[in-house]
Each structure stands twice: as C-alpha cells, then as structure tokens.
C-alpha cells in the first residue's frame, strides 16, 4: 500500500510542476473571475449565465487535467523510459497503475478544488452586487454536491486515459481515444432523449439497437453531471444520486482492472 502511495506522490509532484498545469490553472482562474462580466454583457439571467460559465470552466479544467495530462504523463513515462526505474523495483505492475491513478486523481481534484474556490468567491461577489428585479436564491449546497460528482466524473475519465495508455505508446492516440469516449459518454443521455422523441421515430431499428449496445458499453457521464441541479436548484433524488455514485465507482474500478490486466502483459521496450 505504501508503495502505491509513493508512486501517487511522485505522479502528483511531476504533474503539479509541469508548466502547462500552471498555465491552464491561471487561464481557468481568469475565466472564472471574468464570468460575471461576461454574463453581464450577455442578455439573460446574469446569475444563471455566471454559473453556467463558471461550471463549464471547471469542467474544461477537469477535462484537461484528466484526459490530456494523464495520457501525456503516462506516455512520457513510457517514452522516456523513466518507468524502468520504477517497474524494475519489487513492485507489481498493478501497483504502478493504481499509484498513477491515485496521483492523477489527487492532481485533478486539487486543480478543480482551486477552481471551485475561485468560482464560489466570484459567484458570491456577483450575487451580492446584482442589480436585478428579484435576486434568486443560490443553491450553495447543491453546488458543493455538483463539485463532488464532477471530481468523480474526472476520476472515471482518468481511468479511461490510463486504460488506453496501458496498450498504446502514443500520447496522442491515447488522448484522442479518451476524448472520443468522453464525447460519446457526455452525449449518451442526449441521444437517448432524441431517440425517444418524435424525431427518433424515423431512425432505423438497426441504429436503435446499436445505440442500446453503446448505452450499455460506454460510460454515461450525464449521470455524474449535476450542473442543471445546482444552477436551477432542482430537487434532489437521493436514490438516483446514490446509484450514480455507485455507477461511477464501479465503472472506474472496471477500467482500472482491465488496464492492470493489459499492463501486466505489456513489454516495456
């Protein structure tokens, strides 16, 4: 266990000291701070737009760290052979995978946490200084919940990145496939809704069956997306939330299992 934590710590340190990481953090920080001003420019409910921009910024930040940074760091490890001095020690390959996962997860959670604090401060400021007809209540608790589920979603995506990195050696390939999985996963619920609506009546049954298969196979990321609940203060369904949590954890574990299985047999040349 301690060995896994060591690898996690080193992964965290390596990631946080990458200049790209700092750059993205600053960019998202500026975006969040500017979200209120951007929202003011646009026409519509200013607080709603501020929250939209802020939460989308957090999602983007998470995506970058979880997908790009994870595939980049692992590919770097394999490419530069820095992994040699790790895997040649008395540790099992699965400990390496788990350690990498934990390190990348902490890195992502840290980044999103920083962003979340900036978001809360910005939102609070614009909420207090808003000059509108009737100032709505902001569901702070639900925002916290959305933050937690966002982190879970990112951990799932990190597992996706690790899964692809376990058998390709190109960071670009791993990243591209992970991005594809993300895009499919983010749209599964939308496609389902479209197929069940009037528009979906004209779709051929073959495509519908294919979609059913896809719905089973790919991760349904909308389950972990609580943006609408937080922004519009929708009622919470504890049962659904609990199941979504379980789903996220199970899918992540499954991906890591596959990754370690593949990585056990991988030749490090």
């Amino acid at each position: 266990m301690g060995k896994i934590i060591s690898i996690a710590k080193v992964t965290f340190k390596e990631g946080i000291r990458e200049r790209v990481f700092l750059g993205v953090l600053i960019f998202v920080g500026l975006l969040l701070i500017g979200s209120g001003f951007l929202a003011d420019l646009s026409i519509g409910d200013i607080l709603k737009v501020t929250q939209d921009i802020g939460l989308s910024g957090l999602s983007l930040l998470g995506l970058f760290v979880a997908l790009f940074l994870s595939t980049h760091l692992i590919a770097k490890d394999l490419d530069k052979k820095t992994i040699y001095l790790v895997v040649s020690k008395p540790i099992a390959r699965w400990q390496y995978i788990l350690g990498k996962f934990l390190g990348l997860s902490f890195l992502t959670i840290f980044a999103i946490f920083v962003g979340f604090i900036v978001f809360l401060i910005t939102l609070f400021y614009f909420w207090k200084t808003a000059k509108i007809y009737h100032v709505p209540q902001i569901a702070w608790g639900k925002h916290l919940l959305a933050f937690v589920y966002l982190n879970l979603k990112m951990c799932l995506l990190i597992a996706v990145g690790i899964f692809f990195s376990s058998f390709t050696s190109s960071a670009l390939v791993a990243f591209s496939f992970s991005l594809l999985i993300y895009f499919i996963g983010a749209n599964l619920q939308n496609v389902k809704m479209i197929l069940e609506s009037k528009v979906g009546e004209n779709i051929t049954p073959i495509l519908k069956s294919l979609f059913k298969l896809a719905y089973w196979l790919f991760p349904n990321l909308s389950l972990l997306d609580l943006k609408a609940i937080a922004v519009h203060n929708l009622p919470l369904n504890i049962g659904n939330l609990g199941l979504s949590l379980l789903y996220g954890l199970a899918y992540t574990a499954l991906l890591l299992l596959f990754a370690s299985f593949i990585f056990d047999r991988r030749e490090l040349n």
Binding site: K3, S6, V10, E14, K81, T82, L85, I91, R265
Partner: protein, 238 residues
C-alpha cells in the same frame, strides 16, 4: 542458490505483422553469489534483452529466468536487486533527494532506515551538494551517479548494470571499475554487460559471450580473447 539463473531462454521480437527477429536463442547460464560476472557481445547481440527479461521489463517466450531462485516475473525476485539501466531516465521535476527517497520507498524501506543510508550514499557518489537540486539541472554524469545511488539504496545483494561504461570518459570508467571492485569486497554479486572486451577482461571473475542471441563462451576471462575474435569476425562477415 545462484543469484541469477537462466535456463533455455528464447525471445523473439515481432516487427510489424510478419517480421520476426530472434533476439535470444537457447540461452542458459548461472551467476553465483559473490562473483563479478561480465556479459559481453557486439551491439544487438541480445545483452539488453536478457537483462530486461531478468528485471521483469519484458517476458521470455520460453525457458526459466530466476533471481535468487524466484521467477523474474515475480516482484519479490527484485527485492534484493539494484538495477542500473543503460541510459539514465529520471523524473525531471524531482530533486535528487526526492528521487532517492522514492526509490527507497519502492523497496519498502522504512523512514528510519532510510535517511542515514541516503545521505551516506549521496556522499559516496559525490552528490551531497546537489541533492536538493531538480534532476533536470543535473549533468549526464551526475544523473548516472544518482542512478547508481538509487540502485544501492537498499544495500542489495545483486547489482545488475546494463552497459555502465558506455559513453564515459576515462576518469568515469575508472570510478565505475573501482565501484564494482569495492562492491565485490562487500560480498555483493555484480552482473554487467558491455560490448568492449577489455572492460570485462580486467575485472570479472567469469564472463559470458553472446553473439546473435546465442551463448558462445562461458568461463574465465583469460581464455576468451581468441574465441571473441573468431566470433566477431564470423559476425562481421554475415
């Protein structure tokens, strides 16, 4: 119990869909505890491949590879082994001390044992001043010395080194030779590879010659030169 034991090892690389390269063919030999063993052969002979199989980085197609009588695929086999790979590849953003700490943790060393050991080692390889410097600022020589330090952190019984002398200036070569000799005096086993015959002749107790994946000579270095010349000529002609 031998420190290293190889029995009928076969390894084939697949290049693309059709091409197959036989890297190691029916390789069998053992390295006993307490000896300095040299593994020599021309470039591409299969030396690195064999070492990678021993360290669990790649897997043999056939045969048995063991370290201290444990299969090489098992993590425990490497508990008493220090490894110095061919080119130092270190985590850029860590400092020397951090990396050494990391290596110690991977061996399962507790913090108490570690701090003193680490400092002593850093002094021994001459990196004490640079220990809080990030590895990206280390020169190649400094990196090489750190890799050796991390191999010795657990006071291992066996040290495996892949081409430790390549790319070094005469002073560097001398330092490595002295290190190897002093390690033997501490009762350790050293196994290292080289493509220069002279290197293994001078310091090794026993030597193995590998050409095109096959073992051509195994024994004391005094008798090796002739065989070496023959095999090299055969190899150069083809």
């Amino acid at each position: 119990m031998s420190a290293i034991s190889l029995k009928e090892i076969y390894k084939t690389y697949k290049k693309g869909l059709r091409q197959r390269i036989l890297a190691v063919k029916n390789l069998s030999f053992a390295v006993e505890q307490g000896e300095i063993f040299g593994f020599v052969g021309p470039n591409g002979a299969g030396k690195s491949t064999t070492i990678k199989i021993l360290m669990g980085l790649i897997f043999a197609d056939r045969g048995e590879a063991r370290l201290f009588d444990l299969p090489c695929s098992h993590p425990k086999a490497r508990a008493k082994v220090g490894f110095v790979p061919e080119q130092p590849a270190l985590y850029d953003h860590l400092t020397g001390a951090e990396f050494l700490h990391f290596a110690g943790e991977l061996y399962g060393l507790s913090k108490k044992n570690f701090m003193e050991q680490a400092l002593k080692l850093l002094e021994k390889v001459g990196l004490k001043e640079a220990m809080n410097l990030k590895l990206r600022h280390y020169s190649k020589g400094m990196q090489q010395r750190l890799v050796i330090a991390q191999a010795l952190i657990t006071n291992p019984e066996l040290i495996i080194m892949d081409e430790p002398l390549s790319g070094l200036d005469p002073i560097g070569r001398m330092e490595i030779m002295d290190l190897i000799k002093s390690l033997k005096e501490e009762g350790k086993t050293i196994f290292f590879s080289s493509h220069i015959l002279h290197d293994v002749e001078t310091v090794c107790d026993r030597v193995a010659l590998i050409v095109r994946g096959e073992l051509k000579f195994l024994g004391k270095p005094d008798n090796i030169e002739e065989t070496f010349r023959e095999e090299i000529q055969k190899w150069a002609k083809s």
